[in-house]
Symmetry: C2
Subunit: 169 residues, 2 copies
């Protein structure tokens, strides 16, 4: 399964940190790219730097129109929202192959987004965080295997119970 993330509602200065968390979460949990509705240029710079150090080929892209982007996407389209169907009731329907678009909003998502996708899915029907929702959603569709992936980066962590061990080069 190849996952793209579409991040709606990025409003420059206020959202930079959350938008960066969304992107790094997409990358670490196995998505191949994130697409911002709007020009999140500084977010792209931060995330590209991480990818250059830590590996993989995660892409940060922009679109100027989420409607056209969602409509032209070929594959399964899922919007994460606290109002949707419980994740564990529908995740088995998604299958393990093909392309999936995961749409995550900020506070205000235009109402047509609910109509443009195939599924509106809730990672719990409680208010929390698009970062948390995206992480748990990707973890479910990739079955946890994404956490063991080798990113083949210039920098690599050697896991241990105390301290920090990083290999470079």
């Amino acid at each position: 399964m190849n996952a793209s993330v579409l991040r709606l509602g990025h409003r420059h200065s206020r959202d930079k940190r959350i938008s960066t968390h969304v992107a790094l979460t997409a990358r670490a949990f196995g998505a191949s790219r994130i697409v911002y509705d709007g020009r999140a240029v500084d977010v792209k710079e931060s995330v590209d730097e991480i990818t250059s150090s830590w590996g993989g080929d995660f892409k940060v892209e922009f679109t100027e129109g989420y409607r056209d982007f969602i409509n032209s996407f070929e594959g399964l389209k899922v919007h994460l929202t606290m109002y949707g169907l419980p994740l564990d009731d529908v995740v088995a329907d998604f299958g393990l192959e093909g392309d999936i678009l995961v749409v995550v909003g900020g506070a205000k998502v235009p109402s047509d987004v609910f109509e443009l996708v195939d599924y509106n899915v809730a990672v719990g029907n409680q208010p929390h965080s698009e970062v948390a929702a995206l992480a748990v959603f990707l973890d479910r569709i990739f079955g946890g295997g994404e956490l063991d992936r080798d990113f083949k980066g210039r920098m690599r962590i050697v896991p241990q119970n105390r301290g920090k061990k990083v290999l470079e080069g």
Copy 2:
């Protein structure tokens, strides 16, 4: 299992939104309280409002000293860090009963935190987000059951595939 979250490194204005996401994630994924190292008063106000509307008895508390707090906590102490042991290698050791303290940092975590806890655990050895790490960690220790929990709130969502249905009262 009863989970408390300790959030380190909250620096007022810059971190308010991320700190709020951490707290709402702790609540939605089954923790019983979050403790801030520092006086995150405005975060507490936002989160208490959510709890008042959406239910449960999640608590937001403050401590002025993370060392004493961690030392005096009775139960299993786990720090989430990209440098730690892979989650899926250790989660089975944690058992299903008792109290657990989950320590999450921001960018800079004092080095003694690694020594004060029983386990340093990585939710993937890649840089991402403390919000994502906390969500997936809690989801693992609660086995996904936390997403079905009834918070018995004044406001409740009726899950559906299109639109928003909220019951109040």
